[in-house]
């Protein structure tokens, strides 16, 4: 196809404009592509950062509002390690029964280990105690925590008329919980409130709690009685 001479001349005269338009169009397209790409990647970064900051802020708020101070956490660990030691400690079992006897007036005079119903983390004892019905009821009210060890009994037989040689099966627990990295923090203070309530039921000396002690082991009693 032959270009008309006057058209050719017009093109020649306006070549600067044509090239400029082409150049600008290319620039606009590139600017849009590059900037949109940068904006979208920045958007993604902002989204991720917002989420991260939100979580960190929530965590920081939890530490300011819900989570007790380090000293209290140490106390809680000490309490839990006493209730459920990492390794079974038979002396603390005896100590616990003795404490319960003294606190409730229901005197445990004999006990035997039920080996068949015991396992690595459960120690089942059949105990025989003496006391009147009110002391036995006091024992039933307090046996879960008052001895300083977690004790449960899956079956209770009560005879209010019987005042001596009451037999009851008690289970003590131990479990080694490995100290691992941080997990999701609790969203409310239910755990800490519950532990505070348990502390009221346990006579426990927290005065020797060392905040720097990261061993997280339970306290061993040097004097059993």
């Amino acid at each position: 196809m032959k270009i008309k001479p006057y058209l050719f001349r017009l093109i020649k005269q306006n070549a600067v404009y044509i090239i400029s338009i082409f150049f600008l169009l290319v620039m606009i397209v590139f600017a849009i592509i590059i900037d949109l790409d940068r904006i979208s990647s920045s958007e993604l970064k902002i989204k991720a950062l917002t989420k991260e900051v939100g979580l960190l802020q929530k965590k920081a708020n939890l530490f300011q509002t819900t989570i007790p101070p380090t000293e209290k956490l140490d106390e809680d660990i000490k309490l839990l390690n006493s209730l459920i030691p990492n390794i079974e400690d038979y002396f603390s079992v005896i100590y616990s029964l003795e404490t319960l006897s003294q606190k409730t007036g229901f005197f445990i005079v004999d006990y035997s280990v039920n080996v068949s119903k015991s396992s690595v983390d459960k120690l089942r004892l059949s105990v025989i105690g003496n006391g009147d019905s009110s002391s036995f009821i006091k024992f039933l009210d307090q046996y879960n925590f008052a001895g300083g060890r977690l004790i449960t009994s899956d079956k209770i037989e009560l005879n209010p008329e019987l005042i001596s040689a009451i037999k009851i099966d008690l289970t003590f627990y131990s479990k080694n919980v490995p100290v691992s990295g941080s997990s999701k923090l609790p969203t409310d203070d239910k755990i800490f409130k519950d532990l505070e309530a348990i502390k009221q039921k346990v006579s426990f000396d927290f005065s020797q709690t060392n905040p720097e002690d990261l061993d997280l082991s339970y306290p061993r009693k040097s004097n059993l009685f």
Partner: protein
């Protein structure tokens, strides 16, 4: 022979048409320049805002990480406490929690009749209960029957049934005695 000039008389209309197109080109160029700079400015503003926000968030993140850095050990402690607490709750499910149920039963009997006495009581961790009530007075026993069928008493149980009824005859040392044995399941108290 080579043409040295354009015959505008012949191609005038055509020429004017193309000239007009090129005029449009010039105007389009002005608009494009304006669009280009506007676009450039708008995109620059958007990007600047995004970058500023990124910087702000990074700064916030850094500050919060700084605060939480000191709490790392506490986090480990909390994780440990949570695990132990979970174990504690699991183990507590093995408990019969006898006393609240015993108290509930005892107070229910005291509401109904002073003559009723709880002779035996046994409960398991699944709240299965067995209890025996003794009476020395027949009219009291009859009124007690009405009580145990009432909503006040029944509401405490998922199931309850009379297992046995026995009459122990009077002796020289003991009055006539009526015993009712029940078996059932308490509703959970907590």
């Amino acid at each position: 022979m080579k043409k040295s000039s354009i015959n505008l008389i012949i191609n005038r209309e055509d020429y004017q048409k193309y000239e007009l197109y090129f005029e449009y080109f010039k105007r389009a160029l002005i608009i494009l320049v304006f669009v280009f700079f506007s676009l450039f400015f708008i995109l620059f503003l958007i990007l600047k805002n995004k970058i500023d926000l990124e910087k702000k968030l990074n700064l916030q993140k850094g500050t919060l990480l700084g605060i939480l850095k000191d709490k790392k050990l506490d986090e480990v402690k909390i994780s440990y406490i949570e695990k132990k607490y979970q174990d504690l709750n699991t183990y507590l499910k093995e408990d019969a929690f006898s006393l609240p149920y015993y108290t509930l039963l005892n107070s229910a009997f005291h509401e109904s009749s002073e003559a009723a006495s709880l002779k035996t009581f046994s409960i398991t961790k699944s709240r299965d209960v067995n209890f025996t009530i003794a009476f020395t007075d027949f009219p009291q026993l009859m009124s007690f029957f009405k009580f145990i069928e009432s909503e006040t008493f029944i509401k405490n149980f998922e199931t309850i049934s009379l297992k046995s009824f026995s009459v122990i005859g009077a002796t020289e040392s003991q009055k006539e005695n009526y015993e009712l044995s029940f078996v059932g399941k308490f509703i959970p108290l907590k």
